[in-house]
């Protein structure tokens, strides 16, 4: 017998957790002497009431979809990929190499090439921790954390010593050639008369992220591989019994996860900055954890959670622009979301489960 109906698990609990996070965020805002309602209004205004606000919201959401999916796929195999940040960083390198050194005739080809570059580099950065976990039992959480730092050092080295144009100050690569410039939402949706998404960084990669959501859904729930990944995640011993190789699944799941995390580099590096910069990821790899937790590891949930976090990000930036509330407020909100939907899940879940069991007893 299930302890409670499915809808309670996938809707009720996340919503309650989210409300708790929102409540505590409001307390924090109050504590620093600002008005939470005002703050919310500013955030909504800045992020949702203008097309360019949406352009930022969706730009951030694109990143979070990729990293959220990355974390979710790994979670299905009961692997906690906390290395999305590093994987995305290294993937940026892949994108940069593809864009800088291959003369692309048109962006539509370039985006394919860059996607392959991003996915391969991201996957590669996940491969070593995956292999070490599968073969040598080294805990993937620790190794991926270490790999985040190693990635940062490596990227730093490459940008400063190898890719930085002579005389430039920024640790950043040269601008990508025009053939790789992706159409932004502004290019796509503006008409002669009305400018839409003016200046906003959202670009075609958003649709790539949507495609990734569909892809992950198909992969996890409709393919043999997905079946095996979930089986392995639920029970390693059963997977072994069924002839599903733990090593193979661990490695494949992490490769997919790393590739997905890496894909966000297409959005940031190719779509937005059009050159490789040092901190293009800006913590999106970690936000993927919150997104996956909130989205219950389901692509549709991830999609919604990514939009929510995109809103928080853009709204938070607006707050910082117009008030004295530093942008770190979003980091706090993000922490609270992770805390309540992830670590303190049982705090919300247990009373609700008890409630449902008691209700069922009474009805029986």
């Amino acid at each position: 017998m299930d302890k409670m109906p499915k809808w309670a698990d996938i809707v009720l609990i996340p919503v309650i957790s989210l409300l708790l996070a929102a409540f505590f965020s409001a307390l924090v805002i109050l504590a620093i002497g600002e008005n939470p309602l005002e703050a919310l209004k500013l955030m909504v205004d800045g992020a949702l009431m203008r097309s360019s606000g949406w352009g930022y919201t969706l730009y951030y959401a694109t990143n979070f979809m990729f990293t959220g999916l990355a974390v979710a796929v790994a979670f299905h195999a009961r692997l906690f990929n906390i290395g999305g940040e590093g994987q995305a960083m290294i993937a940026g390198l892949g994108v940069a190499l593809v864009c800088l050194y291959i003369p692309w005739p048109h962006w539509s080809l370039a985006i394919l090439g860059a996607s392959v570059g991003a996915a391969c580099f991201g996957a590669l950065w996940a491969l070593i921790p995956a292999y070490l976990q599968a073969r040598r039992g080294s805990h993937i959480v620790i190794t991926t954390i270490m790999f985040n730092f190693i990635a940062a050092a490596l990227l730093n080295y490459v940008l400063v010593e190898l890719l930085r144009p002579v005389g430039a100050m920024d640790p950043a690569s040269a601008k990508f050639p025009a053939g790789t410039h992706l159409p932004s939402f502004q290019d796509m949706f503006s008409t002669e008369t009305t400018k839409m998404f003016r200046g906003a960084p959202a670009n075609v990669s958003f649709f790539l992220a949507l495609a990734a959501c569909v892809f992950v859904w198909l992969l996890i729930w409709r393919t043999r591989l997905g079946y095996e990944i979930r089986a392995f995640g639920q029970s390693e011993s059963a997977a072994k019994y069924a002839g599903i190789s733990p090593v193979r699944i661990t490695v494949i799941a992490m490769l997919i996860s790393g590739a997905l995390a890496g894909m966000m580099a297409v959005n940031t590096t190719m779509g937005e900055s059009e050159r490789l910069i040092l901190n293009a990821t800006e913590g999106a790899g970690f936000i993927g954890i919150a997104v996956a937790l909130m989205g219950r590891n389901h692509p549709f949930g991830v999609f919604l959670a990514a939009i929510l976090f995109g809103f928080l990000y853009q709204g938070g930036a607006e707050l910082a622009l117009w008030t004295n509330i530093p942008r770190e407020l979003i980091v706090v909100i993000q922490a609270l979301v992770i805390l309540f939907t992830g670590a303190l899940d049982n705090m919300v879940r247990e009373p609700i489960e008890k409630l449902f069991i008691a209700m069922r007893r009474r009805n029986a």
Partner: protein, 336 residues
């Protein structure tokens, strides 16, 4: 390279290794009790901020220290709630705590000091001064002689150099760190509490059925962890530095975690591991020495990444296997 260079390098290693050491021992207590803590970084950071803030307000580093410890313990309690009381995922809790600290410190700092997430610089008693051991050449001798201290030490004999530069002249917290190593070892292997702590990290059911509260033990460990992280953070803000700046721990909590694995969850090894990683950081300040010794330039990025790379190598089990306490990261669940 001269003897004095080595002494100075080691001296720097100790200074930079001490925050790692406190954090590493903090992690040791927590993980030995079966609670994995990747939130060391966050606890250090929040302690750094609160110790600096309160040291600034009170003008007393000790007050700052207490405030830092209190803040760190508060986060430890949250981690305890999540991982012990509500049996949640300890890794996720750690991630949340790191973010919470990263955000809250800046938010509060901005609200209190309006200096973009930093505290004003600490002066005088707001910082921990350096302890000058008897017979060592210290700043007071230099003052009296009216000459730079570095020159006086450079002219002294090797024993005096070793004593004055390396042994003497550290903050009191550095000495406290070394004492903590011994205390940790003693508590762990010589006391009842230590026996129970090690047991609960291996098999909590055994502890439970032996009539000892798993929850109390784990909370005790997590609180000790909070106190030690508090020391680590306070050391950074009020001893190594004179104030808090945004994100000032800069990943040291994770290096400490790496050191803990490197040390295979043992206190004495932990000290050596932290000092080794402190040494790598010290090397970054002396590229000239590296060049003199190995005859070529070493990328500072490589030096910075070395602790992480070494830890991965250790984790891979190519050099001695690091086996964590058996029950670590497992919440103790009796009723499914």
């Amino acid at each position: 390279m001269q003897f004095l260079d080595i002494v100075q390098l080691l001296d720097t290693s100790i200074r930079l290794g001490t925050p790692l050491l406190f954090a590493c021992l903090a992690g040791l207590f927590s993980e030995r009790s079966g609670v994995v803590d990747i939130g060391l970084e966050g606890k250090m950071l929040i302690a750094a901020f609160f110790s600096a803030a309160f040291a600034y307000y009170s003008g007393n580093a000790w007050v700052g220290l207490l405030a830092g410890i209190a803040a760190s313990v508060l986060l430890a309690v949250i981690h305890g709630l999540a991982s012990i009381t509500f049996r949640g995922n300890q890794l996720i809790s750690g991630v949340a705590i790191n973010f919470l600290a990263a955000g809250m410190t800046v938010l509060i700092a901005q609200s209190w000091f309006k200096q973009g997430g930093r505290t004003p610089p600490l002066t005088g008693n707001g910082r921990f001064g350096n302890v000058e051991l008897p017979f060592a050449i210290g700043p007071s001798d230099a003052e009296a002689a009216g000459r730079p201290l570095s020159q006086m030490i450079a002219e002294a004999g090797p024993v005096q150099q070793f004593y004055s530069e390396l042994i003497s002249g550290h903050s009191i917290l550095v000495y406290l760190g070394l004492i903590t190593v011994a205390a940790t070892w003693w508590i762990l292997f010589r006391t009842r509490f230590g026996l129970r702590l090690r047991a609960v990290g291996e098999n909590p059911a055994a502890v439970d059925t032996a009539g000892v509260s798993v929850i109390q033990l784990r909370y005790a460990a997590v609180l000790i962890c909070g106190v030690l992280c508090g020391l680590a953070g306070a050391y950074m803000a009020t001893s190594l530095q004179a104030g808090f700046v945004k994100d000032m721990t800069a990943g040291r909590g994770f290096i400490a975690l790496a050191a803990l694995i490197f040390a295979k969850w043992r206190p004495v090894y932990a000290m050596w591991a932290c000092m080794l990683f402190g040494f790598f950081q010290a090397l970054e300040t002396r590229p000239d020495l590296i060049e003199a010794v190995i005859g070529m330039k070493v990328q500072i990025q490589l030096l910075g990444a070395l602790p992480y790379i070494l830890t991965v190598v250790i984790l891979a089990g190519f050099i001695g296997k690091a086996i964590p306490p058996k029950a670590s990261a497992e919440p103790y669940i009796k009723e499914r």
